[in-house]
Subunit: 596 residues, 2 copies
């Protein structure tokens, strides 16, 4: 009973009516990209994932990944789908044409990736990691590494994984111990154990690479002594490199995605970027992955929102409260979508999902603008947006994706708890996205401690100005004017709360104590801004869309403003509780006396 | 890495210092109950569940329940633990001594039951259902039924289950079709299919009974044509009765608890209570189960809060922000409990759990007061409290138990997602409690549509008066005076929001549209009230408790007031959005154009 259809009208409306992506890309120097081309690409990708990949989601969860004969075996059908996907050029959709890619913009790749995630979250991890590895190697690898790795990765003949975590070093990478010793014959020999390595091995391709963080013999301690290496599965002569997967974890969800313990036993690797500067290079990959993981949340949210609506339209149960008694129907009960509390849940899942998608696409379009432009102010603006919005996209995309999945399950009642109905899998799978790739609390710290004050607060000032512009557009049209006041209130709260948390007289603990609340406050305001853009675009009644769909865009925006934005008041008050609220009487540093 | 120790000091503090249960029970006519007796009972139960039942939690999840040879087989060790539990008299702890019970008060039974739930949620379901079935049979069965069923049920030789749901009849029991035809030889023959029947069969005992809702041949349609029957597994001669378990569901969690599809094929049953009045009789059971399910949430919350704290005290990762630079330690990193965002999560799980327990025990003590008293005003007051607080205990206990489990998982990062570490099982298991026994949205409708206006609003007026009394106590002691203002604000919001939702000019849709927000608002205020009671009691510095524990009670109360109560502002605003916020432009009755 989990339902997914590619939301093509929504995607088209977002790309063309809201973002005006074809025009924006043409202005920024992209050639030959039309709305028709985008439509065709999205329709093809949508067909492929729903016809061929979605049917593997439940079976993949049942079968899971396993270590067999020293290698990882993924569930039936996964390797075959990868062949279809890569043969269609999808692995290189946004890849550099110089290395065989299709050269499509990130905004289009974003929407295709969301569909992949919606159809099968566990499958999406390997391609998602590969895209990030490609970006890191393209940005930091030397010509030899690029010429060696990028063509097969963009062709989908190899995949990429990131190997950071060790048992004692998770969020705190400064603690990592893996070693890299120069090999007299060239390259480095890597030694150490890594854990929680997604897609470290599989049976989709003959070869793959790990991007591994390790320490050179002369490395200083801490994060300034970490270097990045590219470590293949097979060496140039086809021989197996010196690492192995010791086990795959048994997890709550994402069973089809192998989460590996990897032992490096003198594995041969090559340095990427400068010695001891590996974390900087890795952040190219991590920043891509954070955007990708946010999309994972949006994809699950889409499937959840569709599933909740379909169930609520079909399931007959109880009489909905009616303003006009005795209207009645000839059915024994009403569809539960008519019950206000069920409507609330269905609308919430939908409103959170569509705004999350819009934000991801909006940000991707900025990256596209910067890519082809020589204009430094445009590039600076794109960097500002990416810096400020990445932690929000990652944390809000996944938190709200989880909330949408839990709401869908609740709409379905007991049926939502049954395995074969699929929605409980969405909950189990998406739960990981709030944890991996920098737990959402880490994203909040990144936002509060670094991004709010970056360049003297310039990115935040851009955001405030953009929301104010959207408020003016809302107010200018009678069809949307009522949407402005709640968004204006939310923006004021964000501004006041950010100023409070970053004020000079505040200690570092206060900022940390309010970080998660501030991130959620910022996310709600940013999502409200996205709904403002969507409502303004819909109120212009563009041609080519179902009029009822356009009406519902405005209705959903109103729902978001009236029902979801009020939480910002609570979040501001909580964030301003400061560190003192976590250290009251008896709440000693280690909370030793917390329980009895 | 999931951790559980019986929280004996907390339980003792709650019973003696907060509730003054021994004195209150003595005043209400209970004899021979001392604080020492309670201590001994709680310590014994705590030892038993941690030594013998907790170790079966993970293995039970792995093995699951299954249909084998036409009967349900539960995981290894479950049946054996039931024998230990019942042999110790625990199945009849609060049972009527006239039928072999121990005659202990509900307030004590509540705390024992919470420990059972904390140690093994899946196991707790069968005893929890049995207790409710005992109450329904005691209240509505005739002397023959009581004499036949109650002694073995109270002895734990039989268990009880409730058989309500059918494929087309979940929340809406008026749609149920199961039939009961008089048997010429006495009793009734039941025919039909039920689903989602927990503990309909197992291998713990030779016999068990179902309380089944079905229609007599002359039944009117709807809920006024439903009768209640007691249907055993084995008849007096030992022969198997005419029902069978067709299958057990595969679920997200609670794998060790069989959720059965049951076919009744002329099974012999006996009427309980009056014909066509079965729903009233069943509500005796359901009201008990709602309190029990709320406790399930508290029990999981306790295990989650302990697990989160233990992990956060041990795990070294990163440097916590410090107000005094250079204090430092000789460890490579700080325990993560020192990171403000981690403290926030640990404190939240703890604060929600302790208040939930206090509320459940407070309500149980009222039921105890009423039981032995002939004073009609006391009985009326107990009924008012139970009516008003039952939906809050059920919904808030389970919603906050789920939140605590999710927070604990987040504190543990990737380790929280791994199966063998246990906390992910808490999330999967407790998720069901928000759905079954009346989904939490149904509890919200019960609160708003029935309980707020019951007896002219008398129960709500009692609550407001009780919170005001607690506010006066807080204000009277300098150690707690600062806690009062946020709780006073919350109470005002509850009063205003309840008045708005139940005003004569509001339609039934508005009340339904705001129900879930109102319930959560009420829950936060009620939990704040419980924290006020705990803080006032701790500030009196009673003897016999760790002084640091008492200090931390006040600190936790402050955390609750400052960090969790502000959400009430948002909830009031959301609830007052009314039905109009769910029916904006384009949001047609069936939401046909919601997605594209």
């Amino acid at each position: 009973m989990s339902v997914y259809q590619p939301p093509l009208q929504s995607l088209r409306f977002l790309l063309n009516a809201v973002l005006r992506a074809p025009e924006a890309l043409a202005e920024a120097g992209w050639e030959d990209l039309s709305a028709d081309l985008f439509d065709e690409v999205l329709a093809q990708a949508g067909r492929l994932v729903t016809d061929r990949l979605l049917p593997l989601n439940l079976s993949g969860d049942e079968e899971g990944a396993a270590v067999v004969d020293g290698g990882v075996r993924t569930p039936a059908g996964f390797a075959a789908f990868w062949q279809i996907w890569r043969a269609g050029g999808w692995a290189g959709l946004a890849g550099d044409p110089a290395y065989g890619g299709q050269g499509m913009p990130a905004v289009l790749d974003t929407l295709v990736t969301e569909m992949l995630c919606a159809a099968n979250l566990a499958f999406s991890i390997t391609p998602g990691l590969t895209q990030g590895a490609i970006r890191a190697l393209a940005a930091h690898g030397d010509a030899a590494i690029k010429g060696w790795c990028l063509p097969p990765m963009i062709a989908g003949e190899w995949t990429g994984a990131m190997a950071l975590t060790e048992p004692q070093a998770g969020t705190d990478l400064g603690l990592l111990r893996a070693r890299a010793d120069p090999d007299p014959a060239g390259g480095f020999r890597l030694t150490g154990q890594k854990m929680f390595i997604s897609a470290a091995d599989h049976d989709w391709t003959d070869n793959l690479v790990h991007l591994v963080l390790a320490r050179l013999p002369d490395a200083p301690p801490g994060t300034r002594g970490i270097s990045l290496f590219v470590v293949p599965k097979r060496l140039a002569d086809g021989a197996r490199n010196g690492w192995s997967v010791l086990s795959v974890e048994r997890k709550m969800g994402l069973h089809a995605s192998p989460t590996c313990v990897v032992s490096y036993d003198g594995a041969l690797g090559w340095l990427v970027g400068a010695p001891h500067r590996g974390l900087t290079a890795m952040f190219t990959m991590m920043n891509h992955e954070r955007l990708f993981v946010g999309l994972q949340g949006v994809g699950v949210g889409e499937c959840a929102a569709q599933s909740a609506l379909a169930y609520a339209q079909e399931r007959l149960q109880g009489r909905a409260p009616s303003e006009s008694k005795g209207g009645g129907t000839d059915q024994p009960a009403d569809p539960i979508i008519r019950h206000p509390d069920v409507r609330r849940m269905v609308l919430t899942a939908r409103a959170l999902t569509d705004a999350g998608r819009a934000l991801a696409a909006w940000t991707a379009l900025w990256l596209d603008r910067a890519e082809k432009s020589a204009d430094p102010s445009l590039r600076q603006e794109a960097e500002d947006w990416a810096a400020l919005l990445t932690p929000i996209i990652k944390a809000a995309g996944t938190d709200f994706g989880f909330e949408a999945a839990v709401l869908a399950q609740q709409v379905m009642g007991g049926h939502g708890y049954i395995r074969d109905n699929g929605v409980e899998q969405l909950v189990r799978d998406v739960r990981a996205t709030q944890i991996y790739e920098g737990a959402n609390g880490v994203q909040a710290l990144d936002l509060v401690q670094r991004k709010l004050t970056l360049h003297g607060g310039r990115p935040l000032a851009r955001l405030v100005a953009a929301v104010e512009a959207a408020l003016a557009d809302l107010a200018a049209d009678p069809a949307t004017a009522a949407l402005a006041p709640p968004l204006r209130d939310g923006l004021e709260r964000l501004r006041a709360c950010a100023a409070w948390l970053t004020a000079a007289e505040r200690g570092p603990r206060d900022a940390a104590a309010g970080a998660s609340d501030l991130l959620r406050l910022a996310a709600l305001v940013v999502y409200g801004w996205m709904w403002a853009l969507m409502a303004v675009a819909a109120a212009r009644r563009p041609a080519g869309y179902d009029p009822a769909f356009l009406d519902a865009r405005v209705g959903l925006a109103g729902f978001f403003m009236e029902r979801l934005l009020p939480e910002t008041a609570a979040l501001e008050a909580r964030a301003r509780g400061g560190d003192a609220s976590l250290r009251g009487p008896g709440l000693a540093e280690d909370l030793a006396a917390l329980q009895g």
